[in-house]
């Protein structure tokens, strides 16, 4: 690779995306947007995996990302169904009002 971009650059970008995802999960009150921020976290992990795979010349990282994407699809389907069911019951998806399980 003749480029000046190293593994560290990719890892920093991935870490910044992960930090944005964490901040989104904590800041936002809307369950749907929290879910989107979680997807950002997953994608940050995917970017790190692909970067490691490329710079270590191992194809296993890409295979792991393939499985992560497949499982993320299943997870999103179930999670959104739960959010819709919650909305039908409570008429809100703001996590401030979904306090049934709070001590």
């Amino acid at each position: 690779m003749t480029s000046a971009i190293t593994l560290n650059d990719y890892l920093i970008v991935s870490g910044l995306l992960f930090a944005l995802g964490i901040a989104g999960v904590i800041i936002r009150r809307n369950a749907l947007v929290i879910y989107m921020a979680l997807e950002m976290n997953l994608n940050a992990a995917n970017l790190a995996l692909i970067a490691f795979s490329k710079f270590n010349k191992l194809v296993e990282g890409q295979i792991l990302v393939f499985f992560v994407i497949a499982i993320a699809a299943a997870e999103v389907a179930v999670g959104l169904a739960i959010i819709v069911a919650l909305y039908r019951r409570k008429q809100t998806i703001s996590v401030d009002q979904l306090t049934t399980m709070r001590l």
Partner: protein, 164 residues
């Protein structure tokens, strides 16, 4: 050229991520998330993971985000989204993110040495990724198929009747 594309995709992706969490309107958030996935696919292409980049656009930007948008349109979010952010949540969220980035910078300022355990240069094409998937990773592949089936049945069950 490679460097310019890397910085362009990275910065555009991070700006999109910021807009996802800063936007009041969930529809705008979802659309910026689609854009984020597309820029991330660009980064995957730069890393020569062409198959994963295609999957990223098809599954994430295509299927998952359509699901998100469907749910946003289905629920009447407008009324519940007028509230302001809580100060404690904003401060806490930013503090956690800054702490994470700080830790990351401490670790990554030392250069990492690649393990170089692999063999030849990775081409990341369809053949190189899919061959081990159907040879060494057959069982996880089948289990994933089963998992998707279970998730589908679960979704049908969840949306058919009220939660008890």
């Amino acid at each position: 050229m490679y460097d310019i594309l890397f910085w362009f995709f990275s910065i555009a992706m991070l700006v999109c991520g910021l807009l996802v969490i800063a936007n009041r309107n969930p529809v705008a958030s979802a659309l910026f998330l689609v854009l984020l996935f597309v820029f991330l696919a660009g980064l995957f292409v730069l890393l020569e993971a062409f198959f994963i980049a295609a999957i990223q656009v098809l599954v994430y930007a295509g299927a998952i985000m359509v699901l998100f948008l469907f749910v946003i349109m289905l629920l009447d979010i407008k009324a519940s989204e007028r509230r302001k952010f809580r100060a404690l949540g904003v401060v806490g969220g930013i503090a956690v993110a800054v702490a994470f980035v700080w830790e990351l910078v401490i670790i990554l300022t030392r250069p990492l040495k690649p393990l170089a355990t692999g063999g030849d240069e990775l081409s990341g094409g369809l053949e190189q990724v899919v061959k081990p998937l159907f040879a060494n990773y057959m069982l996880p592949f089948e289990v994933t198929a089963l998992l998707l089936l279970v998730a589908m049945i679960g979704v049908v069950l969840l949306s058919k009747r009220e939660l008890k």
